[in-house]
């Protein structure tokens, strides 16, 4: 079963971090991704560029971002393969983002069958 973990947090926090703090945060994410790989659960994952670079398309009109006033922006994702929702939620709780922002867990609709 595939699940998408959506990582939401205040992206301005990142801008405010010192180089050392950035390295520490990146290190925590690398360790997390490695743990997912060792467990055979990792499919894909990446951080997203700042939300100011986003574009939204709706009824043929393209608009510039950012679109949400909310403090927490979608900042990255992991696509994982685990047995069930309970296991996906366990992995979501281990994600560094769960301590600093929040992680949304979405089952991926299996169209191929």
């Amino acid at each position: 079963m595939n699940y998408l973990l959506l990582l939401y947090q205040d992206e301005n926090l990142w801008e405010k971090k010192s180089e050392d703090e950035k390295a520490e945060t990146m290190g925590a994410y690398f360790s997390y991704a490695d743990a997912l790989r060792e467990a055979g659960a990792h499919i894909d994952g990446a951080p997203l560029e700042h939300s100011s670079t986003s574009k939204r398309v709706r009824t043929n009109r393209v608009q510039d971002g950012p679109f949400a006033d909310a403090k927490e922006q979608l900042g990255g994702y992991f696509l994982i393969d685990v047995d069930n929702l309970d296991s996906a939620l366990e992995w979501a709780a281990r994600c560094p983002c769960a301590s600093t922002g929040h992680v949304e867990v979405r089952p991926v609709w299996n169209i191929g069958g």
């Binding site: 290190g27 490695d34 743990a35 467990a39 769960a98 301590s99 600093t100």
Partner: protein
């Protein structure tokens, strides 16, 4: 006007479990009793602000709730079966109202129902939290990492089963207590564990689960005082809870040996020690008592300066013989390391099954520590990486990252 609302909310907090236990043990139907009680609270919030709160809010709520229950039974034609019991309940409620005497505490019955062998082991703790403590399904779901919809579904099914299978609302006969008490205590311990792991960060809402678990343990110990394990569990949880404030310093993880003793809750430690002494007097050794004794030995080492490392190793050996779990094995390895027996600790970890250890954060953290002490730096670095990747909170991650950094440059 706000006073009446405050009284209703206070009654809900303080008496929910007792009211529900009393109502469900007379209707034999937890779900119906919950609905009736919810209706009664709603009626209280409507009428108390206008007419003032009654002298005995609990008796008022009981009377209102049993009226709802009787109406419900009439509608469902279960009148004949349950009305005699409910009428009796109504009389009792009225006596209680007149005398303002406290009504009998029947939460123990409710605890035993929740831990009945017919109820799925995984839903026992959530069921207790909902019925005895009145927590809502969404909050329980977040503590147990399942979706609120799934948790509500499980709770509803469990309650339907209690009714359909006619699980009796009586504590079992004393000879059948052993395993049933075990299930009650296990469920309380699980609730404490869910709160304990989540000390900071996003999971703050769950910290209070530990308080609720201690409440249940104290209740159980006082209701069944001749069972050593009930006191053992209470002692164990009080010891752990006494150090809550000392576990973090400015958001950083503090290992037990470096915690600020001024932040330990001395009253809680005293109560924990008294509970442990009471447990030994019952004369039946069990896993919770040994775990509490391990805690007690750690505390004595810090408070009185005794060297208890050897005692702790022996206690872990006893624990692993009596109730082997992954947690007890990793604890044993850690205790051996603390006694300077790094090779022995490493062997204990190595003997565990890979399926058990693959994603077990504590196993990787203790392994990293031991490998570090054995000067196997490359392997230690890999183990620290895994422990960091599996950690659930920022403070632990940072603590381990600092240890990893202290390994210095290693070839990888």
């Amino acid at each position: 006007m706000n006073d009446a609302r405050a009284i209703a909310e206070e009654t809900a907090r303080a008496s929910y479990g007792r009211l529900l236990a009393w109502l469900s043990s007379r209707s034999n139907d937890v779900a119906a009793a919950e609905d009736a009680l919810a209706d009664a609270f709603r009626a209280a919030l409507e009428t108390w602000p206008e007419r003032g709160a009654p002298n005995s809010p609990e008796a008022w709520l009981l009377t209102a709730a049993r009226r709802k229950l009787i109406d419900g039974s009439r509608r469902k034609n279960t009148y004949k079966d349950s009305i005699p019991a409910l009428t009796l309940a109504a009389e009792e409620a009225e006596i209680a109202m007149r005398d303002e005497a406290p009504f009998p505490d029947e939460r123990l019955k409710l605890l035993f129902i929740c831990a009945h062998p017919a109820i799925d082991a995984g839903v026992r703790t959530p069921l207790m939290l909902q019925t005895v403590l009145g927590l809502d399904a969404a909050r329980i779901a977040s503590a147990f990492l399942v979706s609120p919809a799934a948790m509500s579904g499980r709770l509803v099914r469990a309650k339907r089963k209690i009714k359909a299978a006619a699980i009796p609302f009586e504590p079992p006969e004393p000879q059948a207590w052993g395993p049933r008490i075990g299930a009650v205590l296990e469920a309380i311990y699980a609730a404490y564990g869910a709160g304990w792991d989540e000390i900071d960060g996003s999971a703050n809402a769950n910290a209070n689960l530990t308080g609720e678990a201690i409440f249940l343990a104290r209740l159980t110990a006082n209701l069944i005082p001749d069972q050593g394990e009930t006191w053992g569990l209470l002692s164990l949880m009080l010891h752990a809870e006494a150090r809550r404030d000392a576990r973090r310093k400015d958001g950083a993880y503090m290992p037990l040996g470096e915690q600020d003793l001024a932040l330990w809750n001395q009253a809680m430690i005293d109560e924990a020690e008294a509970a442990l002494a009471r447990a030994w007097k019952c004369g039946q050794v069990g896993a919770y008592q040994i775990e509490a004794a391990i805690q007690s030995a750690h505390v004595a080492a810090r408070l009185k300066g005794h060297d208890t490392t050897v005692d702790i190793v022996l206690l872990y050996e006893k624990l692993n013989a009596l109730a082997p779990t992954a947690g007890a094995a990793v604890g044993y390895a850690g205790a051996l390391a603390a006694a300077g027996r790094f090779e022995d600790g490493f062997k204990v970890l190595d003997a565990m099954h890979p399926e058990q250890t693959k994603n077990y954060q504590a196993w990787w953290a203790v392994r990293a520590h031991i490998l570090n002490k054995l000067e196997r730096k490359n392997e230690a670095k890999i183990a620290y990486d895994r422990a960091i990747g599996l950690a659930e909170d920022e403070a632990t991650r940072r603590f381990l990252a600092a240890k990893r950094a202290a390994l210095g440059k290693v070839r990888s």
